[in-house]
């Protein structure tokens, strides 16, 4: 009997998810043994035409990482959805938008302006910008178009499962692969990570007090972070209470607060809004001016609470009133 066919693809991504696969180390041999990888641009030479030639659902499983923010990525997402039986959003970017999702705090015009004119080491007096199509004597050159808004994978195609994390922890990848190979996947739409927050598994949980009243928020570079005490209790913006467990608390063990890459539990519909609600609730003051002063210390609420989840959030992107309709 032939081995199940598997594909990997990357959209707007950093390559970290690909490295996560490689991080399986010896376990990757088990994977390679059990499946046939028929598409993996970073590692193998299969082309888009090879995928187009496949039957519908010929691939048993396809893992897509990266957010979707260009016409090429959108096209590939749709193609892979067609050719895969099970489509899995792999990593924070495809799950919630990830770091590329931060582009939704600004506009396409501002991004191009910044990248091609404003950065310190750029010299571009004619303000040349990439063009989607450009005639040269040999013909017309085309580039995929950059979308105005970064989307999560499931805002473009139907997604069967999510493997969260930036990148997904090796442990979770192994469990997911095991479930796939044994044919024991849970209900469609499930996020393949424990449905409880990180505090449950955090090595510092015992030091978290029952009553926290935060008088001052601190940033990691401002204090000497104690290694055995709850980070939120030290005034750092640790989002472990809002974030799924399953990563082995790596950041905490690295003495840094959790930034929320595994996303929310299943009972929360907007990660950033819940995180904001939870953290603000703990401010230790009832005076309007004092509350504002304490919260002002959070330098960048958008970036802090929606670091990985802006496209997936109810806010989705900055609002542009009137004509454009905020697209």
């Amino acid at each position: 009997m032939s081995k199940p066919k598997v594909g990997f693809y990357w959209c707007a991504a950093c390559g970290g998810c690909e490295e996560a696969i490689v991080d399986l180390n010896e376990d990757i041999l088990k994977v390679v043994d059990a499946v046939d990888i028929v598409f993996w641009p970073v590692a193998l030479d299969f082309k888009k035409e090879d995928v187009e030639k496949m039957q519908d659902k010929e691939m048993a499983v396809c893992f897509v990482n990266g957010a979707v923010r260009s016409s090429e990525q959108g096209e590939m997402a749709k193609l892979l959805r067609k050719k895969a039986g099970v489509l899995i959003a792999f990593g924070s970017c495809s799950h919630m938008g990830g770091i590329p999702g931060l582009a939704n705090f600004t506009t396409k015009e501002a991004i191009l302006e910044n990248s091609y004119s404003q950065t310190p080491s750029t010299v571009n007096p004619e303000k040349t910008l990439p063009q989607e199509s450009f005639k040269v004597k040999e013909g017309t050159l085309t580039l995929p178009s950059l979308w105005k808004t970064v989307k999560t994978l499931d805002q473009v195609v139907d997604v069967d499962y999510y493997l969260p994390g930036c990148p997904p922890p090796v442990d979770l990848i192994n469990k997911a692969l095991g479930a796939i190979l044994e044919g024991k996947l849970p209900a469609k739409g499930t996020v393949l990570a424990p449905d409880k927050a990180l505090c449950q598994d955090c090595p510092r949980k015992e030091s978290k007090p029952e009553k926290l009243a935060i008088k001052e928020f601190k940033r990691p570079h401002e204090i000497l972070i104690e290694t055995d005490k709850c980070l939120l209790a030290q005034g750092l913006l640790c989002l472990g209470a809002v974030t799924r467990s399953g990563c082995g608390s790596v950041c905490i063990n690295g003495n840094m607060p959790c930034t929320g890459c595994l996303g929310p539990t299943s009972h929360v519909i907007d990660y950033g809004a819940k995180a904001l609600s939870s953290i603000a609730s703990l401010v230790g003051s009832n005076d309007e001016a004092e509350i504002a002063a304490i919260l002002d210390k959070i330098a960048d609420p958008g970036g802090t609470f929606f670091r990985y989840s802006l496209p997936a959030s109810l806010l989705h992107r900055t609002y542009q009133p009137a004509k454009e309709g905020g697209k």
Partner: protein, 162 residues
């Protein structure tokens, strides 16, 4: 968004109001008993305390099509449950900063302290807020919530607007 059932009428602001049971909702009832007339543009959702207000509610309201959100709570010090309104204030303060960052005009999301006997204040706030939003125009957060797959559920539309 104009009334689906009657597209001939000019656009009317649609506001969702979250009123706490003990003060604001009671005050709105009092305004009713006293027959104080005010703009009918806010649809009231009753919660027991403004402390129940989850920022996810506000964002859901905006995403589902509201042009504005009004939150009503007891005056500081008067919360029936001691401190619920202070917690609401803490969350609202932070959410407001975020909404400003996202470019949503400040008049669209408003928190007001209204005591149980202040029916006239309900009237005033409803009228004021409706007029402010009328000047701002419809919010039109696109795409609509149904078109955006909340994570975990899947089912996006083909050809979602970009």
């Amino acid at each position: 968004m104009s009334d689906k059932l009657n597209t001939n009428k000019p656009w009317e602001p649609r506001i969702i109001a979250f009123f706490c049971n003990w003060c604001t909702y009671t005050a709105a009832d009092l305004a009713g008993t006293a027959r104080m007339v005010y703009a009918p543009n806010a649809r009231v959702i009753r919660i027991m305390c403004s402390g129940r207000l989850d920022p996810q509610f506000i964002l859901t309201a905006l995403r589902e099509g509201a042009d504005g959100v009004l939150i009503g709570g007891c005056h500081p010090g008067d919360c029936h449950y001691q401190e619920g309104n202070y917690k609401a204030l803490r969350r609202f303060t932070l959410l407001k900063r975020l909404l400003n960052e996202m470019g949503i005009e400040p008049e669209r999301v408003r928190m007001e302290w209204i005591a149980a006997s202040e029916g006239d204040r309900v009237q005033k706030v409803m009228n004021e807020m409706t007029e402010h939003i009328r000047k701002l125009g419809p919010l039109h957060l696109e795409p609509k919530a149904a078109a955006m797959a909340a994570h975990g559920a899947g089912a996006a539309r083909q050809g979602a607007p970009v």
